[in-house]
Symmetry: C2
Subunit: 326 residues, 2 copies
């Protein structure tokens, strides 16, 4: 079996490495010739320590050399989905989305872009998500994820062929929920990083993340998702991993913001795309349009885009009126 | 205003210290004269670094010197509730429970002991719970909690007088839920510590805790609690703090068990009561009696009481059959 992976970032490389470990052949499209050369010659990848690139990954630099009949796995940042889809959209090809976030300009999730802008039938789209930091998947640490599609036979096939003892894939029938929640959780993770950066303590961080999960539920009035998704691997599971793990780019953005670094400096620090920064803007518009009660996401927007003080914003959140829980 | 606090452990001292910071007078009953002397003479408490005991805490070594008309705050381990209640039960006194756990022999929660064994009317019982590590509360770090009673006027009074900007108390109307969930979460925290001790990674830990929360929901068929409690401060909030914080005794028990230390050694290591060890036994009986699907709690019991290998138990949990979420 051969699959195509698009994207030579950490998740693309880590997932490809995992797939080769279960004897799936991978054609990996990577835009950067430098990255390809470095991996092929040195067998290393600077963002992974102790990583030895397997020979089984077939690095490809030209889309024309990819066979689009294979399952096409999209591991690029959400903002790059349109440019890659422009080159690979084909009516009957199947697409598995690994990206988590809103497109900053189109204000759409990846599956919406693929379906609405490139007319790919929903039955040919699947999404994989969960608490899946690339830095651990590349080392084959035990990981759980969900796969979802409106076409059960597609998600079942992906589960059957891509799941293993080290990477357990569960089925979900809530594609919308998986995509929305995996995007919004990045915003809460930025807040979690700010909380940690301000040294507010484990009590405050746990309270913030708990409020964050309940806040994510607010989006149910806009995106009709299932509560079992919110409380499952693609909701809570992913939220926890992103809010607590030191591998989390979004948490690290928050840590830098808490040290009064500018957004540019914070992003430079992590040297990767933190989807939460883009998603924050889109979700802020949704909050206003639908008049949602999402104070944490609102404050993260204020900090990132309106230069609000992280300290004052978090204090504002902590000091909200006493009331009955939910 | 004066309150009584019973228990000279970390939570009793930290909560008393907090109360004096908001100008509440505290009569603190402490069984150990040595502890009292040390705090009164040295103004320190060995388990808190950088702690200066305030003069406003009135340490008392004899129950007879306590005025039981005050609110009686119980900060002793659950297994000590009967012996302390034997000395202080009085028909019209009011009791605020801080203890989290099942009594190992009576197999009861604290409120059940106070109500059933000492005939205290439920309207005179309140419970305070949440993500509240003593080590942070003692330093007045921002913390959130819930208070609950079957008598709303009691919980409202506690909220009004004991809440502050550093320790936000929310109202809950689900006393049973708050007590059950705060006890069961300690078992999941032991599993979280084992996961961390085995170095399984952040992905696996997030997956385990997510499964843990869903597993706690199983107890709804035995204790009729609200889902808003499960997903609120006293459920998820407390779970997160206990599963992730380095202050968590229960997580630290798990860390020691993962290093193949015996239960005795593990408990000696933390030199405090880890409620999860007792609760594990009681919950195990409940699981069997009501035929509940709680694999994590089952494996923690197997590890603690049947010498199962932590590594094999966790592997067993990870390798459960692929199925639809929920």
């Amino acid at each position: 079996m051969t699959v195509n992976v698009f994207g030579g970032g950490t998740w693309g490389i880590a997932f490809s490495n995992y797939l080769t470990s279960i004897n799936i052949k991978v054609d990996l499209y990577c835009r950067s010739l430098d990255t390809i050369k470095q991996i092929q010659i040195n067998k290393t990848y600077p963002k992974f320590s102790n990583f030895k690139a397997p020979d089984e990954i077939n690095f490809i630099n030209s889309i024309n050399d990819m066979n689009l009949d294979h399952l096409n796995i999209l591991a690029v940042p959400t903002k790059s989905i349109p440019s890659i889809m422009k080159q690979i959209h084909r009516k009957d090809s199947r697409y598995l989305i690994l990206s988590k976030g809103f497109h900053p300009k189109l204000k759409l999730l990846s599956y919406e872009i693929i379906n609405q802008k490139f007319n790919i039938d929903m039955k040919n789209i699947a999404v994989l998500s969960g608490p899946n930091h690339a830095e651990e998947v590349v080392n084959l640490k035990p990981t759980a994820a969900v796969v979802t599609s409106t076409d059960l036979s597609l998600s079942e096939k992906i589960q059957k062929y891509l799941s293993s003892v080290n990477f357990r894939i569960y089925l979900s029938d809530d594609l919308v929920g998986v995509q929305v929640l995996s995007s919004v959780k990045n915003i809460i993770a930025i807040a979690s990083g700010i909380c940690e950066g301000l040294d507010l303590g484990d009590n405050a961080q746990a309270a913030l993340i708990t409020r964050g999960l309940n806040e994510m539920k607010e989006l149910k009035s806009v995106y009709d998702f299932k509560l079992s998704t919110l409380y499952g691997m693609a909701g809570l599971g992913d939220l926890l991993c992103t809010c607590y793990s030191n591998f989390s780019r979004n948490k690290n953005i928050g840590l830098a913001l808490a040290q009064n670094k500018s957004l540019d400096e914070a992003c430079k620090n992590i040297d990767m795309v933190a989807e939460g920064v883009h998603s924050s803007k889109v979700v802020y518009d949704i909050i206003n349009e639908f008049n949602l009660e999402m104070p944490i996401c609102r404050e993260v927007y204020n900090i990132i885009y309106l230069n609000a003080s992280p300290e004052l914003s978090i204090k504002k959140l902590m000091n909200r009126e006493l009331k009955k829980e939910q």
